[in-house]
Amino acid sequence: MKALARKLEILWDSPNLLKDIGSLLSAWRIGAWFCLINMVLGPLMATMIVMGSIENEEPFVQISQQLGLGQYLAVNLMLGLCGVLTLLIPLRASGLIEGPRWAKYFDQIVLSGISPERYLAGRIASQNIFFVLILLASMPYAVFGLSLGGTKFSYIVGCLFALWVYANLLSVATVAAGAIVHETGAVFLTVTLAGVMFGLGLIPVAVFGLSPTHYIIEPFHQALASAGKLSTGYQFVINYRGATYQLSSLLLFAFNGGLLGLVCFLFCLLGPVNCLVKENSTFGEVVMPGDTKRKRLFRMRFILRRRSEVAFFYENRNPLLKRWEIPLRYLPICAILGTTLLLAFGVAHYYSYELDLEDFSGLNLFLMCAGLVAAAFTFTADRMTETTEMRCGRFTFTKGALDATAFLFFAALVYAIGFWGINMREAFELSEQRSLGQAETAWSWLRSPPDVREVAYVKKVTKLCHFFFLLGLEIYALIRLMGCQFWERSTSVFVMLIFLLALFGVPLGGTLVFFSHRDLRHLAQSVAFISVPSPIPLIVATVDDYVGGEMGRLLDTGWYRVTPVFHSLLVLTLAGWTVFCHRTLKRARSKSAEEKS
């Protein structure tokens, strides 16, 4: 406990916290913040009162009538506060790295030896003062809502707790994102994601209980549900052994938000993956081979320079973090990605029996593709980090190898779940038909054709599962190959997308042109084989029995049957090529390390 208290004392001693307290509590800033809060909340409350009092059938009127004006205004107030926090907290949390860099004293911060956690935690802690300031400004509005009646004090307290968790989550997420990507992008990313979650939380679906707005707007949902305008799907209910348990959306958000906040804080401590290679190891100066012959404009590499500077800054972190970097970095990512995937598949399966077989299969395949693509984009590296060595205790692995392992694990997981889902549904359909068939044998003549059709359809979808898994591997191999070629991951992804478009779209389009043009149609059969790289004819042919038009004519040629073989070979080639590039980079790195030593 004493060690923890000492740690917290050090964090409290952060220069950023002292600086922020000084700036936040100055008169003009307090006035500005109060002005801003009143400008947001005052008109919002006035508008809501007007909307809630016009005598018609609008939902606002109904809600205000059912909840009572006090509760109605309290909900709107809390939503307004949540919106203000969503916009202001990320903005305030930014500037930790870019500010000193622009003012050209970031090197002094790095050389001072200050640990990243101490430097960053000050800004995170100072958000609480800002939060209190916002609460103070909004207090008369809250009291007004309470005095009108209908508002539960516990609701107000619950909302404030949710907003406090939210504010801290936002600040720590912005800081963590700012350490990994450029801070402008980090703010944009955080505000966008938080805005999306803000909006999703308003939707009366239980899954979106991850957003604080879900708890805040719950009285509205309750009012609409009691008026019969809404189902009770906004409640997170667990059925266990026949008993039903309803989870509080506040606790749900607090738990998830807290967990996510901890993960973000962990990434604040870890920082970006170390990217110090030969080309940028002179403290930020990125000098590539052949730069002396290039013009000045082409020698400016802002992004690489920023990354190397931040990497130098994170050299000051706790050595223990470096020693256990692999589990600390990969486990949270795997947990988040895995939970998201399982949640998505779980929801799909939960509602699967409300969908018919085809819709469910489509959804299952979509989730499978989304899972594969998400895993492919998450576990990838660029040329700077491809051969970065990471440690897990005494063991050392390169990032490239770790990424490949993690991706294969996730790809297998997604493939297994998708495959299992389709077959579970098939088993369900068959058992249903069997049970019905036993009861009413007279109906067997009628039901047998659909049986055959459904079983055949499931087989087709199962084939597609295999094929999509293959495509996922192919995309990943391509991303990794491009990552070995380019210094920036975004560049490699962009090039990969162009390559995929060229591979999948252009030959297909060209072939279809031959089919559609009357003068060229006699050549179409001969050139149809160039559409082999495109998976689209195969997918279309699998999903639909009959396709007309040019695509139908192309399918008649039967070339698409070769496509899986082609893609299997392509995957093997790309994977081999990637391994070759990885080894080359590794050799170069070890060579430069030897030179240094």
């Binding site: 006035g31 009143n38 009538q65 004006l69 509005y141 007004f144 049970s435 009861a439 009628l446």
Partner: protein, 650 residues
């Protein structure tokens, strides 16, 4: 021997009920009105008795006497199945000065009709009540008389049209049930089975507080009480439990020469100068009024909840907009004092001074806001009484009643809304202008609310697992939430729609739980026009509750044929023909698990459909190509014949 159906049993019971209503004089038992024992008996769970469940009878008793009592609970009931009077006994030991009540519960087997509950100590009857369940016909006008000699109303015994305004043959029958005053129940629930309680001039009204309360509640909930005119002990008893406004009204009315009927709560108080029991004709004043009222106006009372006024949420009055502008000014001032003033004027002040300024300003405005709310929330003509009463036997009609009393004599804009969960499309007959949809019912109207009002609704009870009603009363913000939830023992219906065309995407399974009582099931689907003409065959199956096993061929009620096309379409409301193509709805009556053949429907839809289960919206007036008819099993076994028949080939 012909097994008696439920209907005959009920009819029999109705006739027997009148006889049983007369407490049998058992010479071995001595009835005493024991002081110091508080007894309350309730039947069923939340006033619902499931037919296929055993019926709980909960008896609560407390003994405040100084002596220990060892007694026996005795429940006599009529067994439907055996048509025998049976009894259940349970011993109970009541220690002296028992402040907390002791609860005993016995479960009667299904289809029991409770007749008498008594607490007996040897041969002394310490407490006894007549309890009836379902035995009292709702089609008749039931009147309970309270008199020393258990006299029945004389005019009620007659049944000819010549007597005043009373119904003639074929019209509603008047039935009279007589008790002594000590037999009055301690809860208003049993009383609400009667349209009126007539209390004799000579009745001994030394009732327990619970009995007094029950009588008053019955009146407020919508019951009718006939009391002797002038000063009487009945009136004093009622006045002691009624609010002052009602007391004034009753006093005023009772002093009139020809006392007028007086509305108390949602009920009606009648005064009669003479003893009502002696009348052989009711062509005169109060009796005529009573008869008219009972026949044409009075709704059955059934208490469910009575909410005190503090439950009603405060809201803004209708004319709050003027006050709201003041609120705007207050908050504008707050925004000015905490924004520009700090920013521009106080910027050179120290941090301490600033903190004081901010703290004090916010505190002051918080205090102002604290008082603004109640000022806005105050309104005149507050609702003093508010009760919603309803009767919900599972599978039948439902009456809901709202009773309001306004202290300030102010007209209220009254809006009632109801919500149904898991309900099916069935029409409702709310006795006012109303709008009905699947999920809610209600109406809105301006009602002069000087003293009280009474709104009643007949709602078709639906096959619902959970029923929740909400009543909302404007001015806005005022709300009363009445929640009545119950779960019935549920079966499961499995509907599949399939047809032989393999290109068409159907085979839809929909499972719906339903109550195994007087349930009705509506199965509906809609179809899109996408291909060629085809037949859609809809089959319903029923699962045994709690299991996945089907019942095999014994699935659908044999009355399916009676519920033909007419009834099917009768309950379907709206149809967007252009978009949806065709639809059908099938209403199945209460499923009968015994000796019933299977039944099928074949729907002929002009174009090949992609079927999805949905709630049907259909208007038969718009016309449809959809044909739904019952197919004989012989045709089902011969599909070619069926197709030929459909195609008109012989």
């Amino acid at each position: 021997m012909i097994f008696p159906t439920r209907h005959t049993c009920l009819s029999l019971l109705v006739s027997v009920g009148a006889v049983l209503a007369q407490p049998r004089e058992n010479p071995k038992l001595k009835a005493i009105n024991s002081v110091g024992i508080e007894v309350d008996v309730r039947c069923g769970i939340a006033n619902h008795v499931e037919e296929f469940l055993s019926m709980p009878v909960t008896m609560t008793v407390s003994n405040t006497t100084a002596e220990s009592i060892s007694a026996v609970w005795e429940v006599e009931f009529l067994d439907y199945a055996n048509r025998q009077l049976r009894s259940v006994r349970k011993e109970v030991e009541l220690p002296p000065n028992m402040k907390t009540s002791r609860r005993t519960r016995v479960y009667l087997k299904r289809q029991g009709n409770l007749t008498v509950v008594r607490l007996r100590r040897n041969r002394e009857v310490l407490w006894q009540r007549i309890m009836r369940w379902e035995s009292i016909s709702r089609s008749a006008i039931n009147i309970l008389t309270v008199s020393p000699n258990r006299e029945r109303l004389r005019f009620a015994a007659r049944n000819d049209a010549a007597v005043g305004n009373m119904p003639g043959p074929g019209e509603r029958e008047v039935r009279s049930y007589a008790i002594q005053s000590w037999e009055l129940p301690t809860h208003s629930l049993p009383l609400c089975m009667f349209k009126a309680v007539v209390i004799s001039k000579n009745a001994d009204l030394s009732l327990s507080p619970a009995q007094e309360r029950a009588l008053t509640d019955y009146l407020v909930f919508g019951g009718s009480i006939v009391v002797p005119g002038g000063k009487s002990s009945v009136l004093e008893l009622l006045n002691a439990n009624l609010p002052q406004a009602a007391v004034d009204a009753t006093q005023k009315a009772s002093q009139m020469k020809m006392p007028a009927p007086t509305r108390i709560g949602s009920g009606m108080l009648f005064f009669d100068a003479k003893d009502f029991f002696l009348r052989t004709k009711i062509s005169m004043d109060a009796a005529t009024n009573l008869a008219k009222y009972l026949e044409y106006e009075a709704e059955p009372a059934f208490p469910k909840f009575m909410r005190p006024s503090n439950y009603v949420r405060r809201g803004l009055p209708v004319n709050a907009s003027k006050t709201l502008s003041m609120v705007g000014v207050v908050f504008g001032l707050y925004a000015f004092l905490t924004g520009p003033v700090i920013w521009l004027i106080l910027r050179k002040k120290g941090r301490k001074a600033l903190a004081w300024y901010v703290g004090v300003t916010i505190t002051i405005f918080c205090l102002i806001a604290l008082f603004v709310g109640p000022i806005l929330g105050l309104r005149k003509g507050d609702i003093q009484w508010l009760s919603v009463t309803e009767l919900t036997p599972n599978g039948g009609y439902q009456w809901a009643m709202l009773s309001l009393t306004s202290a300030g004599g102010k007209s209220h804009h009254v809006e009632l809304k109801g919500e149904r969960l898991r309900s099916w499309l069935l029409p409702s007959t709310v006795t006012n202008d109303y709008r009905f949809s699947r999920y809610w019912w209600g109406f809105r109207q301006n009602l002069p609310l000087k003293s009280s009002m009474n709104i009643s609704m007949d709602l078709v009870n639906e096959d619902i697992q959970k029923d929740r009603h909400q009543v909302q009363i404007s001015p806005w913000g005022t709300r009363l939430l009445l929640t009545n939830s119950y779960t019935s023992k549920a079966g499961q219906v499995d509907v599949r729609i399939s047809h032989p065309n393999r290109k068409t995407r159907i085979v839809v399974t929909n499972r719906s739980k339903f109550a195994l009582t007087d349930s009705r099931i509506i199965v509906s689907f809609w179809a899109k026009n996408q291909g060629q003409e085809t037949y859609v065959i809809m089959n319903t199956g029923q699962f045994k509750p709690g299991s996945r096993r089907e019942f095999g061929p014994d699935i659908i009620n044999r009355q399916m044929g009676n519920w033909g096309v007419r009834n099917m379409f009768g309950f379907v409301r709206y149809h967007d023909w252009e978009r949806n193509g065709g639809c059908t709805a099938v209403q199945l009556p209460r499923p009968n698990l015994n000796n019933t053949p299977n039944a099928y429907f074949i729907a002929k839809i002009p174009d090949s459909p992609a079927l999805r289960m949905g709630q049907s919206n259909f208007d038969p007036n718009l016309g449809t190509h959809l044909v739904v008819q019952r197919i004989e099993p012989s045709n089902i076994l011969n599909p070619q014949r069926l197709m030929n028949q459909k195609a008109g080939v012989r």
